[in-house]
Amino acid sequence: MILAELQRDFSSWLLHASDETAGRIGVAGDPGLAVYQNNYRAQLVGCLEESFPQLRAWMGHDAFLYAAVTHIDRHPPHAWTLDAYADNFGRTLADLFPRNPDIHELAWIEWALTAAFVARDAEPVAAAELATLDWDATRLRFTPSLQTRRATSNAADIWRAMREGKERPEGEMLAEACGLIVWRRGFVSCLHAVDMLEHEALGQMQANGSFSALCEMLVERLGESEGIARAGSMLAGWIGSELITGVDNGPHQHALHN
């Protein structure tokens, strides 16, 4: 048998375990086939369990296993690294549990924290480096590890309680949606909840980096005085949290960092 055909048939057997494919491989009935089938599936289930420990505890073993097996059947792995297999588990969870934002958001939190843990390194910009900038021409860059999403459940509180070994709260919807941000500070992945205005502001800053445009947006929403004050407090918070890792100035795009 030609090697490429053998490898395609073997892959097909791992995915579908049909007797016809086993026959084409020429080893039908060989006990070794079952070992490879088990290795393939056990490794993927193990990857998902290791990537989402709190989600698994929250959902319960059987519900998590059901989701994992469904995901494995729907989305065979493609990336060279097994770590990437956790990337789109959230899609399967959203399909299986469309009315459970706590599940979607817990999955996102765990995935984002893991991704941040191995994201590209970038040194934070110190407040002193921003003191003399021409803000009209300045573009701020945020740490490559930063990820944000809108949240409607108390998943962040659930995650924190479980991580700290405390009694976990009941799952519930938030009175108002919030933003979740995940990033890495030094070597530590962090999770923080922000109001929707800051979530929107971070999205705009990640897209264009313009602090003066952000000020305009906040002035439009909150009025001159409160808008400028809020922009200043957000900037101070981002600097203090080490979210800003680069500054581009004017047409020459001089980078302080990153």
Partner: protein, 277 residues
Amino acid sequence: MPPLTLPPPFPGYGLGLRRDHYRDFLETRVPVDFVEVISENYMIDGGQPLHILRRVRERHPVALHGVSMSIGSADGLKPEYLQRLKTLVDDIEPLFVSDHLCWTRIDGFNSHDLLPLPYTEEALDIVCDNIDKAQNVLGRAMLFENPSSYLAFDGSMSEWEFLAAMTRRTGCGLLLDVNNVYVSASNHGFDARAYLRGIPAERVRQIHLAGHSQGRDLLIDTHDSPVVDDVWDLYAAAIALTGPVATMIERDDHIPPLAELLRELDIARRFGMKEAA
């Protein structure tokens, strides 16, 4: 391109660096001559794992051991994978760079398992072509590990004949996994000592030792238990042929305290001293 030279033998004893033992390796002087890491765990953009590996590298030589190159893929190697591995190799300057004689991927599907190859002339051509490409990108000779396998395809040569031809044609070296020889010999009914005599002993640069489990029908290479006596005996036979080469214990599951693994590594040392005497 001129033929790549195999790194010289490194007669030492090492362990796989696992997360459970990071603190031991960073805060104490662990009595090993080298450590081995899974390459893919460090082919990442940044963060603490790479930082730790660089700090460990300041104290110990590091061998990079891969599981995803898929040297037997009929549709070739992935350039992105090779470039990421090259970046890590340039960063760490490892003692050895190794992967497995197997395939894991075809047409974009990646099984993340070390799947067996048929030992045919066609497969040999494909494997050698892929090894040439990988070694050219990395600029150095690699080592390839004999796999443990649970089924065997019809072929025109034995696994040891395949390995011998592969090293002759590509200049690569071998990572001899003694436990894998034992497991495959049991599963397929060949003579493990004939296997050792059949491979080119002078191309072996590293030896793996590990534990296995008894499955329902077959031995399974689980790396979750101590090395068994029969494998130690086979190790003694192996080093009688290879001479002193880098030897290490692989433990990937049920990882015990470091002291326990160091005691197991001392057994390997004693076999080595006995052979040298």
